[in-house]
């Protein structure tokens, strides 16, 4: 039987994730067998899975292993959609950070520690963050500091502090620095007032200084035989916890944050649009829907009524944050708000450009919603309609898309400060461009508006 390694899990020699017959497995290598057994028998695994903090797994037979080096084979519960820290809102990154620290605190109380604290060890599942790396736990060696401290600061504390105290857009640095934002760089970006916070001074500024001061020095000589008690470790984790918990951001004042309350739909138009979207989706049998340009997720929630999984993408950090807060506040499952600039979508990156998947590689979705979006792409970003059609046709099988004509006040607003260089932006031009990539299944006018809603199927997947 053949197997295929899941890129992104090859750095840790203790095991790796792979696919066999469309089922996901995690192999525990012999070199890590003793530590894994200790973790399972300690009761920590049971506690973390019972509380929904760690993804549960079933141990299966070694005949399903990928290599002869296997000690055990696990079949973890599958995560519906893999997302990355650079796609998370402030609240999502903060919740992921608090989850990591909570797990480390529980691990310490049972004589274990996290070997790493990568933000990529966390995924969003059922509306909340969950730790996915079962092989991150090892028995605590008394006296040793936390090896993942620097990684935690670079993956979580520094990005969150920058987003909270400097600018929310600093979160996008995580896309460039996939191994975490370097401490010296982040320390320079932080505002002067960050020196007034003990946590920022200690974990970020002094931490950055210590990196330079002890670069090239051996641990044994620099530490001068000093050790760190478990109480001191717990105190460090608690301090990090209060530092993260104390960071906040108010999601307001951005371009799209107020869109839901600042649009030109009449009540009748909104009702008609919702009914049309639901009508097309309900009959499609779609199980995964990507709502592109979802804003705070109004139509994602409508779609969720007829589909089990909706990924709610938007370019605006405030809109995504509000959407996520709604998910948490109402314990909504099946809606995952994520940050996405569709004009520059998440690329494939990391080692060999394969460690982190591009947006398209994580698809295709069964259905795409592109509501009140196409005019922003075509007029706001000068993207030709045929190119929009080409890209969307590769992201999902079914497309429910709204065409907003130039006579609409929202489009007129886009053309206020620039010449109209878009003669092809017409209903006919739109249909011609999209018919090259799609078969139009239905079109209806949204009541009490000049907008049209189309339902199309991608020719790209029909050919496959």
């Amino acid at each position: 039987m053949s197997w295929q390694a899941v890129e992104g899990s090859f750095r840790d020699p203790s095991g790796f994730v792979y696919c066999r017959d469309a089922t996901l497995y995690r192999q525990v290598n012999k070199v890590f067998g003793k530590q894994f057994e200790a973790f399972i028998t300690s009761g920590l695994y049971d506690e973390l899975t019972r509380e929904g903090l760690l993804v549960p797994h079933t141990q299966v037979g070694l005949e399903l292993s990928a290599t002869a080096d296997a000690y055990a084979v696990l079949q973890p519960e599958r995560i519906a959609f893999i997302s990355y820290p650079y796609e998370w809102s402030f609240g999502q990154l903060k919740d992921a950070a608090l989850l990591t620290l909570d797990i480390q605190e529980r691990a310490l109380s049972k004589g274990f520690t996290l070997r790493d604290s990568s933000a990529y060890n966390v995924q969003f599942h059922g509306g909340r963050p969950v730790f996915i790396d079962t092989l991150s736990f090892e028995p605590l060696e008394e006296g040793k500091p936390w090896p993942a401290y620097k990684q935690f600061c670079e993956h979580f504390l520094l990005p969150l502090t920058l987003m909270s105290k400097r600018d929310i857009r600093c979160g996008s640095l995580l896309r460039t620095y996939v191994d975490g934002i370097p401490l010296d760089f982040g320390s320079r970006l932080l505002p002067a007032r960050s020196w007034a916070s003990l946590s920022s001074v200690l974990h970020l500024h002094l931490h950055a200084w210590a990196q330079g001061r002890y670069a090239g020095a051996a641990v044994s000589s620099a530490a001068k035989g000093k050790s760190m008690s478990r109480t001191a470790l717990v105190r460090l984790i608690q301090n990090l916890k209060s530092a993260v918990a104390g960071l906040s951001w108010n999601p307001a004042g951005t371009e799209w944050a107020e869109y839901t309350s600042d649009n030109n739909y009449s009540e009748e138009a909104a009702r008609s649009k919702r009914a049309l979207v639901l009508g097309h989706l309900a009959g499609s049998g779609a199980r995964t829907v990507w709502d592109l340009g979802a804003n705070t997720g109004e139509y994602s929630r409508a779609a969720r009524e007829v589909t089990p999984q909706v990924i709610s993408f938007d370019v605006d950090p405030a809109a995504v944050e509000r959407n996520y807060r709604r998910v948490r506040a109402n314990s909504e499952t099946g809606i995952l708000p994520l940050l996405l600039d569709l004009t520059n979508p998440s690329p494939a990156q990391g080692w060999a450009g394969r460690e982190r998947l591009s947006l398209a590689e994580r698809g295709p979705a069964d259905a795409l919603l592109a509501l009140a979006l196409v005019h922003h792409l075509a007029i706001g970003h000068n993207l030709p309609l045929d190119r929009i059609a080409q890209y969307l046709s590769r992201l999902g099988r079914l497309l429910i898309i709204e065409f907003v004509p130039k006579t609409d006040s929202q489009v007129a607003r886009l053309l206020l400060s620039r010449p109209d260089i878009f003669p092809g932006y017409t209903k006919e031009g739109f249909e011609t461009a999209f018919q090259r990539e799609y078969e139009i299944k239905g079109m209806s006018r949204v009541a009490d508006s000049e907008r049209w809603l189309y339902c199309m199927t991608s020719r790209h997947f029909a050919v496959d």
Binding site: A148, A210, S229
Partner: protein, 46 residues
């Protein structure tokens, strides 16, 4: 351990541990003082 914790980070943790222990001790002493004076004040009032 498969990631590099870096020497600077390990040394800083030792420093942080010392500092946080001191902060914890100071806050414990402060709490003790506070509760001592809280005990005294109602007695005087009575």
């Amino acid at each position: 351990m498969y990631i590099d914790p870096t020497t600077g980070s390990l040394v800083l943790q030792l420093l942080a541990a010392g500092l946080l222990s001191m902060v914890a001790m100071v806050s414990r002493v402060r709490e003790a003082f506070k509760s001592f004076f809280r005990m005294l004040v109602p007695r005087r009032r009575r």
